[in-house]
């Protein structure tokens, strides 16, 4: 497991040496044990950095915000920004690079390997063990294939597989492939999978497979998703947390069309309303399916959308479905390489087209 002290030293060195202008990382949040994202710019702030199973957030989001901010301030820089990246975060950064949103030399990636562990799922924790009050917890830590949870007076040791986030169980790549420096090791397959009696990992797309076995007809799936989308309150938390949702104007925003000095009167008059403001089933479906399609070949399964959903819509099912299609049909692995053309921008003569009817 990575020693957080090592991480702090690395970050401090980078800031002191002026190699990076800031480091995006995690620090202890205001809510007890849970980490929160932070951007540090001074070397002494490096001591605040933490690395534990509560570092769930996909920090690639803050790269997007950094570019936005610099764009708005017309700020140019010659130094990259440092960023801590788990396997999934690094895949997201790769997609951003593929899409030219950030350039390779604008980012200094401090890769963090989750090794054979993963991130804690707070919702799983709530029902995991008798007597644990998540509110009272003060820290969580990695310990081999377990998480150690501590409150002021007590400590619990829970098998990680039981309370780990589903996407971590299905993780395709716990160790970042693209990085400038790497902390932790690439786990061997054996280490990750655990033993047959106590598996630490599921197959990729395991949850999707379970879903497809229960909802095994189009009618059943429609029924399922209708119920799910009926509950959506359109808070757009899923969009806000997604590092891939960086469009300047979203189709759902057309109802509150942004007006800039460049906006012409005609543009104002012609503004499009693809969906209405109030949450209704058909417009909710319009929103979620458009988002899923826009993420096809781009979503790297960080699972953040599902984590932040206040009404617990299983959004990973939609996105992993698209990911599986892109892998199976086009042999395309989202976030695997900066060099390959994005899935939706590449065409090969032998692309399967049997789905066109």
């Amino acid at each position: 497991m990575i020693d957080p002290e090592e991480l702090r030293t690395r970050a401090r060195d980078l800031l002191e040496g002026g190699q990076v202008r800031a480091v995006i990382g995690y620090r202890r949040g205001s809510r007890g044990w849970a980490a929160e994202p932070v951007v540090i710019t001074r070397p002494e702030e490096a001591q605040d950095l933490v690395w534990d199973p509560s570092c769930v957030h996909n920090l690639a989001l803050y790269l997007v915000q950094d570019r936005r901010r610099r764009g708005a301030l017309r700020e140019s820089t010659d130094r990259p920004i440092g960023i801590l990246a788990k396997g999934c975060d690094a895949r997201a950064i790769v997609v951003l690079m593929q899409e030219n949103y950030v350039q390779r030399d604008e980012v200094y990636i401090i890769g963090l390997s989750c090794e054979s562990s993963g991130m804690l799922d707070e919702r799983k924790l709530a029902g995991a063990a008798e007597g644990i009050d998540p509110q009272a917890l003060e820290a969580v830590d990695f310990e081999g294939d377990a998480f150690v949870l501590s409150s002021q007076h007590q400590q619990w040791r829970l098998p990680a597989a039981g309370v780990m986030a589903e996407r971590c169980l299905e993780c395709r790549n716990p160790c970042p492939k693209v990085h400038d420096t790497l902390l932790g090791k690439e786990p061997r397959e054996q280490e990750r999978r655990g033993t047959a009696s106590a598996p630490t990992m599921s197959d990729p797309f395991a949850e999707l497979q379970r879903f497809e076995q229960t909802a095994d007809s189009a009618a059943a799936r429609w029924d399922f998703w209708s119920r799910q989308f009926d509950r959506c309150i359109r808070c757009f938390a899923c969009r806000s947390v997604c590092p891939m949702c960086y469009c300047e104007e979203c189709m759902v925003d057309s109802i509150s069309f942004t007006v800039t000095p460049d906006t012409t009167a005609q543009e104002k008059a012609n503004r499009l309303r693809w969906i209405e403001r109030s949450a209704s089933r058909s417009d909710n479906i319009g929103y979620h399916l458009t988002r899923a399609l826009h993420l096809a070949g781009r979503c790297i399964d960080c699972g953040e959308c599902e984590r932040v959903c206040p009404v617990r819509i299983p959004l990973r099912l939609l996105n992993t479905k698209m990911e599986r299609e892109s892998r199976e049909r086009f042999g395309y692995e989202p976030g695997a390489s900066v060099e390959v053309a994005a899935l939706l921008a590449s065409f090969r003569d032998d692309d399967p087209n049997d789905f066109i009817r």
């Binding site: 030219n100 300047e248 800039t260 053309a341």
Partner: protein, 650 residues
């Protein structure tokens, strides 16, 4: 709403539309649409009175736009846009609602068809409501034509183009021009010598001041647009200088390499340095890099040493040139259907089973046998020859569905040539039926049957195998109902014609489409038979479909005429419905750049920029842009949304 005053004109198209769609009802329903101020229907909107009615209505009602509900915009969009212009509107103030191909012709139920016609018309009205007036984009013209392939089609097209005063760049993959026709002996139905009629044309091409000839060259990349294409051509290294070469044959005499001669279809051998035909143009020897011992004086160097003229140099490299042309004629010809698929006829396995083109070489005075028909295995004159027609053709289940068109005629000719040489020989022709449409063709076949006494057996051959020094042929004569077994000395297969091997690649390079059989597709099967779907690219010869020499020549001249017509315009105009970037929304992801099939988009300071004249308005970029930052003019997202609403009646 847009506030435009729109008129809707519904065409009966005789019974074509009115037979299924209640045209009067469409007109009356459309009259109630928002923004529609007048409607009418007419038996033939495209007729002169129909067109005049449109022009008059625009003026009388002070219309801002017209929707014509009629046939496909492919047919009459231009007609009615001209009308709109004549009445003082912009061409894009006219919109076509296709209620014929997309409605009347594909539906039976009048009630439902009428409802659909109303919706299609309503969609057009809504789209027009948001259309903006656009003016065509004006471009210059390069008065130069690229002709790809120098067979008879390419040669004819080049000569016609040059005669009209255009510069021609004629590109040929092989070392000599002449193509397939150069390999033929006599041609049906007049039996004039193929090389004798072709070689004067070849010489003319070589001498014509306006024709630049590039042999051993291939088109690698084509960019640009009609009137202004940039073509990248790769020319293989020419180790023999044609200007110095005196055609003395000394080099070939000393060359130690012997390989099958591809120009004789493997029936004879050649050296690594050789001349494809005595009449080859350019008249020079060719050094074949793939069979040469290595272009290295240390290894061999005999030809260079013996050449008195000093015409041979080994240190040549392939070169790539970029040329500007205004139009392209594609004449890449045919290949015979692959022999590997035809095991039951023994082609390739039995020495005395030949394909039609090999037999032509046997008959040809310049061929490997100096025109004597001798079978390859023992060089004896055959007595019993079996000709099998439709080998691979007209066999949709296993081979090619199409009729190769020329086989009936050339098989008759083959049999005739054989009987002329071996009067006491027996010729058998297995056929399905005889297709001899053409001037003098039927008379020719009848002559072969009656005067030359060739046995025509209506039926197919089931098996061909080697039996001693004979080739045994099993077949059926379906007219007598009997099985036939022939001990043949020679079997000649009339193999199906298929597009030449490079057709798929050149089609991709030129962005032209191919039909289901792989031949180059014409823009319209009847009215635009020599044009491809890409403006400025024309088709000639067998690359477009099986045809004989006169047809090929006629099509080549037609393609040349089309190119001449195009390039004689002082300026060309480009459709203004091109993509447009909403720069504020563009994040510079490059997806549109990668997607654009016309290389029309590039990034400038992190934002996409469209080169208007390159853009064909296909919309691929619109589909690929996740941020809706690019749209095609007059196909805006707002128009799309309103059209969807109109069709769904939201």
């Amino acid at each position: 709403m847009s506030g435009k005053r729109i008129g809707v004109f519904v065409c009966h198209c005789g019974n074509n539309i009115a037979g299924t769609v209640d045209v009067a009802q469409v007109a009356s329903v459309m009259a109630a649409e928002d923004g529609v101020v007048c409607t009418s229907d007419h038996a033939y909107m495209c007729s002169d009175p129909g067109q005049n009615a449109v022009i008059a209505a625009i003026k009388e009602n002070a219309l801002d736009g017209v929707v014509v509900s009629c046939c496909s915009p492919n047919l009459h969009e231009r007609t009615f846009r001209e009308n709109a212009k004549a009445a003082g509107l912009n061409a894009f103030d006219c919109e076509i609602a296709n209620i014929r191909e997309q409605c009347a012709w594909v539906h039976r139920d009048p009630g439902e068809a009428t409802e659909k016609a109303i919706r299609i018309s309503r969609v057009a009205v809504r789209r027009l409501g948001r259309s903006r007036p656009l003016e065509p984009i004006d471009t210059g013209v390069t008065r130069r034509v690229l002709v790809v392939g120098a067979g008879i089609a390419g040669i004819q097209a080049s000569l016609d183009l040059a005669a009209a005063g255009l510069d021609v760049l004629l590109v040929e993959r092989q070392a000599t021009i002449g193509g397939r026709m150069m390999g033929l002996s006599e041609t049906f139905p007049t039996l004039d010598c193929s090389q004798c009629v072709l070689s004067p044309r070849m010489v003319e091409v070589a001498r014509h001041p306006r024709i630049t000839l590039m042999v051993s060259s291939e088109v690698e990349k084509v960019s640009g647009y009609v009137g202004n294409f940039q073509v990248k051509i790769r020319r293989q290294a020419a180790f023999v200088d044609p200007d110095l070469c005196k055609l003395c044959d000394d080099c070939a005499q000393v060359c130690p390499v012997v390989v099958p001669n591809e120009y004789e279809l493997g029936l004879s051998a050649r050296r690594a340095i050789f001349m494809p035909y005595p009449q080859a143009i350019p008249a020079t020897y060719t050094l074949d890099e793939s069979s040469c011992l290595g272009l290295n004086p240390v290894v061999c160097g005999k030809c260079r040493d013996v050449c008195e003229a000093g015409a041979i140099t080994y240190d040549r490299k392939p070169e790539t040139v970029v040329e500007q042309v205004g139009a392209v004629v594609v004449a890449t010809g045919f290949d015979l259907y692959g022999q590997e698929q035809l095991g039951e006829y023994g082609l390739g396995a039995i020495e005395d089973v030949l394909d039609g083109l090999q037999y032509e070489r046997l008959c040809s005075a310049s061929g490997p046998t100096k025109g004597k028909i001798l079978r390859p295995s023992d060089h004896r004159a055959p007595k019993d020859v079996v000709f099998i027609q439709c080998v691979g053709s007209r066999d949709p289940a296993r081979h090619c569905a199409w009729c190769s068109k020329i086989c009936c005629m050339y098989t008759a000719k083959h049999a005739k040539l054989f009987k002329h040489q071996v009067p006491d020989g027996r010729a058998y022709v297995f056929y399905i039926d005889i297709r001899s449409g053409g001037k003098g063709y039927e008379e020719f076949v009848q002559g072969v049957m009656e005067e030359d006494e060739v046995m025509y057996l209506r039926g197919r051959v089931s098996r061909v195998y080697q039996d001693g020094d004979k080739v045994r042929v099993f077949g059926t004569d379906t007219l007598s109902g009997q099985n036939v077994e022939i001990e043949a000395d020679l079997v000649v297969l009339a193999l199906a014609m298929q597009p030449s091997a490079g057709t798929a690649a050149i089609a991709k390079t030129l962005k032209i489409s191919r039909d289901k059989d792989g031949f180059l597709a014409e823009a319209h099967p009847k009215l635009r038979p020599v044009e491809s779907v890409t403006a400025g690219v024309f088709l000639a010869g067998t690359a477009q479909g099986p045809k004989d020499i006169p047809e090929t020549v006629a099509q080549a001249s037609a393609a040349a005429a089309k190119a001449i017509g195009l390039l004689s315009q002082p300026r060309l105009s480009h459709a203004p419905t091109v993509a447009q970037v909403r720069s504020r929304l563009c994040t510079g992801c490059r997806m549109c750049v990668d997607t654009c099939p016309y290389d029309a988009i590039r990034l400038v300071q992190g934002k996409a920029v469209v080169t208007d004249v390159l853009c064909e308005g296909c919309g691929s970029c619109v589909a690929s842009c996740l941020r809706a930052a690019i749209q095609v003019k007059n196909s805006s997202p707002l128009q799309m949304k309103e059209m969807i609403e109109a069709v769904l009646r939201v």
